[in-house]
């Protein structure tokens, strides 16, 4: 084994691991085994994974090694292990979406993202925990128990993609895939000191992504560095004829942008609405320090007013539940998944109702009911209709802003990781975690969260959100990488190295 990683392959970045495998310093099998060993050692504490596919991972790693042995060209992430959020289908591998209703379901097909990961020779270690059907901000809504934040095991790792973010912070995987409907990639990244990107809506195929809210869902990369995120972004993005909402345009060159890593001459807007009351002091202080740093790096920073953002959360909680009430109707015990009450006496409707009653958790039921109500005849215009109008206003605010600035920045989420159990009985408090991330989903543009330090009062990671116009995802990486480089220089090491050992 190579000594390039001080004897611990799990500390390596994806870029470094791929280079080492390519150079023959280490085999993909060794890398996969190191991560499987790490999972075996720490996942009992973290619970990032719902399913570990050791056999599949080692087979894929062996295939990469064989490819190299044959002298074939390896891709930029060949042999790098990855944790896949359990909301993407993977042929023959359990896919539960964190729900009892899909317990035991093994999809007969691969999601496009899964297929692209395989084609890029990534090694999929397993499926990560998540809030049930991606509804939540803490991963406490998983039917299979919560995931814990490696920075403090009594705290949440964010949600819905808490399994993916925790797997990175726990060094169980150097890369992960998440999905972001209202912040489910960025907020977990923020509270675990990792990098998460929600690409432009339509940038990454949704085929095989089990839908929560079709017009908002977007798969994206999670990593410990901006460059790693860019490499993964490039691997999964691109037009897919199986997804009608997929954009048929070239993917912005995110890897080049991450390598460029400068903000010279850029105009950066600070969103006026996402500051002040309701924000943790340490979050604001780290955020403003980072903004000052961007200015020092040569960017022009201006304040930008986006008044409609104040209505974004309300609009989101009408649109997302409405779409989910329809998307989740298919879970009815007829074709796959859980079936309850099929005793030969109950009729089909009773079996459907009993199964849904038993199979869905409280948050999913709450949103199905909200959405069913919002779409009902007589209420449609007042709820779903006006939410769509708000969406239009938000898009206009963004258009106005991007006419003046290249990117917008804000805190990713108003607080650092909160305690497990702290907000479970207060849905509104839970929903506020996505306050700053939701406008990007409603507008369909691109967003990134990168770590900008620890809050002095609790020593927990703070994230900064960068937002770019649709199909200008490369700008996220330029700004993110510039800030990351400057911060690493300031700290003398990447923030993630400060995560306590488990």
């Amino acid at each position: 084994m190579s000594t390039a990683f001080d004897g611990d392959l799990t500390r390596g970045t994806a870029a470094a691991l791929a280079a080492a495998i390519k150079a023959g310093d280490v085999t993909a099998t060794e890398v996969a085994q190191a991560h499987l060993d790490r999972i075996a050692k720490v996942d009992e504490k973290v619970h990032a994974f719902l399913h570990i596919d050791a056999e599949g991972a080692l087979a894929q790693a062996a295939a990469v090694d064989a490819k190299r042995a044959r002298g074939e060209e390896l891709g930029p992430l060949a042999g790098v292990p990855l944790a896949l959020k359990d909301v993407f289908t993977m042929r023959g591998v359990p896919t539960t979406c964190g729900s009892k209703i899909l317990e035991g379901w093994r999809p007969p097909y691969d999601a496009t993202v899964t297929r692209k990961l395989r084609e890029a020779d990534l090694v999929i270690l397993g499926k990560t925990n998540m809030d049930e059907f991606a509804m939540g901000s803490s991963t406490e809504n998983s039917a299979y128990g919560p995931t814990r934040n490696p920075w403090d095991l009594t705290r949440i790792p964010g949600g819905s993609g808490g399994g993916s973010s925790a797997s990175l912070a726990a060094f169980e995987a150097p890369l992960a895939i998440g999905t972001d409907t209202g912040g489910s990639i960025r907020q977990p990244a923020s509270v675990t000191g990792t990098v998460g990107v929600k690409p432009t809506y339509g940038g990454v195929s949704r085929y095989g992504l089990v839908a929560f809210s079709s017009s908002l869902d977007q798969g994206g990369p999670c990593a410990r560095t901006v460059l790693d995120a860019a490499l993964l972004h490039a691997a999964i993005a691109g037009h897919d004829p199986l997804d009608s909402t997929s954009i048929d345009q070239p993917v912005p060159d995110v890897v080049a942008a991450a390598q460029r890593a400068d903000v010279l001459g850029m105009r950066i807007g600070v969103v006026k609405q996402f500051d002040g009351e309701g924000y943790q002091a340490g979050v604001l202080s780290r955020f403003h320090e980072a903004v000052d740093l961007l200015r020092e790096l040569g960017a022009t920073v201006v304040e930008v007013d986006c008044p409609s953002f104040d209505s974004a959360l309300s609009a989101y909680y009408l649109i997302a539940p409405s779409e989910c009430s329809s998307n989740l109707a298919r879970f009815d015990a007829m074709r796959y998944g859980l079936r309850v009450g099929d005793d030969g006496v109950n009729g089909v409707e009773e079996v459907m109702a009993l199964t849904r009653e038993a199979g869905f958790g409280p948050e999913v039921k709450r949103r199905i009911m909200l959405g069913t109500y919002a779409l009902s005849s007589g209420y449609y215009d007042a709820y779903y209709g006006s939410a769509q109008q708000v969406r239009t206003l938000i898009i206009r605010d963004f258009d106005r802003a991007f006419a003046d600035v290249d990117v917008l920045v804000s805190p990713t989420t108003p607080t650092t990781a909160f305690k497990i159990g702290e907000r479970v009985d207060d849905p509104m408090a839970m929903y506020l975690a996505d306050l700053c991330t939701i406008p990007t989903n409603l507008a369909g543009n691109a967003g990134m969260s990168i770590p900008v330090g620890l809050a002095p009062e609790d020593g927990l990671p703070v994230g900064l959100q960068i937002i770019a116009p649709a199909m200008a995802d490369d700008r996220l990486y330029r700004v993110g990488a510039a800030l990351e480089t400057a911060l690493n220089t300031k700290w003398g090491h990447p923030l993630i190295e400060e995560v306590p050992s488990l």
């Binding site: 089990v210 298919r330 007829m334």
Partner: protein
């Protein structure tokens, strides 16, 4: 629980007090090679659940992609129905739970149909009726349920149900009329004529075979009554899945009588869906719903809007074939038949048979004579469709050709047709087997003529004197002697020649 027809007013009694208003919703399965939103094949009769994929099974994570051929077919149907074609329209989800619907919502269109505001002219009861079209929209078919056990064959009370998703996702076009008023006593006939005309149109466009017996075309008939002389529509019933032209007529007729009975009794008509029973021509209520169905329609977020360019629509307009109405007018002129005769031809289902017979060389009047005469009579006797008789247009054309060539006379031709219908082979084979060829040997005919002249000298003398009247007697004698196998025209010719020389 069917309403007994015994307790209902007669049709005439019902129409004496009430004015029927109809609304017809026709679903047509498009004959595309693949489904509406996935690449699965659409062939009929495959093993259950073999023509499925994640998308048409509604598996978690699957997504729809619109079939461009289906859009094209929908636009062509819209154009043929004189509709406006939307410049921009969307699909919508119609949400309801049913096991044969894999996603528990149907991807359909709601307030933005691809085609709207059209009409179709149909002929019924000796006049033309303009049926206004509200809309034609695209949607996907559901799977097919088979309910096993229980008394009704429906889901309630069944022991278990089987679902075949081969049909799930097959493209459908739903064509909805505006309320059809003013048809009065002719309402059932107009309804039937509309569905028949629509079927013709769909077939002419080549977008579907529209075979009702295979469910490729299905009609839901809405009906309400209002007291004669009033404007306000009554409460309607919707009779679902009426699956033959005759059933459309019968279902409307029955519902008129049933509504009249309800109204006569001072009761209120219940707004409900009803099932039609082929066996006795009655309808019975579908499941009684406690609340109005709320489908919670909203725009389908998994699909982008459909925005057919005006250039494309214009191009598609250019691909429209001659439509059935225009074709009928042209054929009527070509054949030189009266309105009444044309209507008879239509009613007999003989148009295409005659066209084909003519295309094989038969004179139009001859083709029409056979199909509308002898063959129509036989079809009627046997109670089958004209087209179902065991004789082809080619065989009829052959009989006409043999007659024109003088090889058969009318009487013999009739016997040949009879032989073909009896399965004795082609016309030529029947002629050979039955020995039906016309006697065209002049020598044999002259011998028979001489015998006739000898037998009827008085008649022969009169003809010789220039009076051709008694020639018939002589010709009849010759025909009798040749057992009808002589060509009467040739006999006359030879006879006159003989008596003038």
């Amino acid at each position: 629980m069917t309403t007994s027809t015994m307790s209902l007013p007669t049709y005439d009694e019902a129409l004496a007090s009430y004015d029927p208003v109809m609304g017809l919703e026709v679903h047509v399965e498009l004959g595309t090679a693949t489904k509406m939103f996935c690449g699965c094949p659409t062939g009929f009769g495959a093993e259950p659940n073999t023509q499925t994929c994640p998308t048409c099974l509604g598996l978690p994570g699957s997504l729809p992609v619109v079939n461009a051929v289906a859009i094209e077919s929908a636009i062509r149907i819209g154009l043929a129905l004189n509709c406006d074609i939307a410049e921009w329209c969307r699909f919508a989800r119609k949400n309801y739970f049913y096991p044969d619907m894999p996603k528990n919502f149907q991807t359909s269109q709601y307030d933005e149909p691809i085609a709207f505001n059209g009409y179709l002219d149909v002929e019924a009861a000796g006049r033309t009726w303009r049926i206004e079209i509200e809309r034609a929209h695209m949607e996907e078919d559901t799977g097919k349920s088979t309910h096993v056990g229980g008394a009704t064959g429906r889901i309630h009370g069944a022991d278990y149900s089987l679902v075949d998703y081969n049909r799930a996702g097959i493209p459908l076009i739903e064509i909805v009329t505006k309320p059809i008023t003013g048809a009065g006593e002719h309402a059932p006939e107009v309804a039937k004529a509309y569905v028949a005309e629509l079927r013709e149109l769909i077939r002419a466009l080549g977008v579907s075979e529209a075979r009702m017996e295979l469910g490729q075309m299905r009609c839901d008939a809405n009906l309400s009554l209002r007291p004669l002389g009033t404007e306000k529509f009554g409460t309607r019933s919707e009779t679902k899945n009426v699956n033959s032209l005759r059933s459309v007529e019968r279902a409307v007729t029955f519902e008129i009588r049933r509504h009249a009975a309800v109204l006569n009794a001072g009761d209120k008509v219940v707004q409900e869906t009803r099932h039609f029973h082929e066996n006795d021509g009655t309808t019975s209520p579908g499941r009684v719903k406690e609340e109005a169905e709320d489908y919670r329609y909203f725009p389908e977020p998994d699909l982008v809007p459909v925005a057919p360019s005006r250039e494309w629509v214009q191009e598609l307009r250019g691909t429209l074939p001659e439509l059935p109405g225009a074709r009928r007018k042209r054929l009527q002129a070509d054949w030189g038949v009266s309105d009444h005769d044309m209507q008879s031809i239509l009613n007999a289902g003989a148009v295409d048979l005659i066209v084909e017979t003519v295309s094989l060389g038969a004179a139009a009047d001859q083709a029409r004579k056979w199909w509308m005469g002898e063959l129509a009579r036989r079809a009627n006797e046997d109670d089958v469709d004209l087209g179902a008789l065991p004789i082809t247009p080619a065989q009829v054309a052959e009989v006409v050709a043999l007659t024109a060539a003088g090889k058969l006379n009318d009487k013999l031709a009739r016997q040949v047709i009879e032989g073909v219908l009896a399965g004795e082979g082609s016309p030529e084979e029947v002629v050979a087997k039955r020995g039906l060829a016309v006697v065209s040997d002049d020598g044999a005919l002259l011998a028979a003529i001489d015998e006739a002249i000898a037998a009827f000298p008085d008649a022969a003398e009169k003809v010789r004197g220039g009076n051709q009247g008694p020639a018939g007697q002589l010709i009849g004698a010759v025909m009798k002697a040749t057992r009808g196998q002589a060509d009467a025209a040739r006999v006359r010719e030879l006879l006159l020649e003989r008596l003038s020389g």
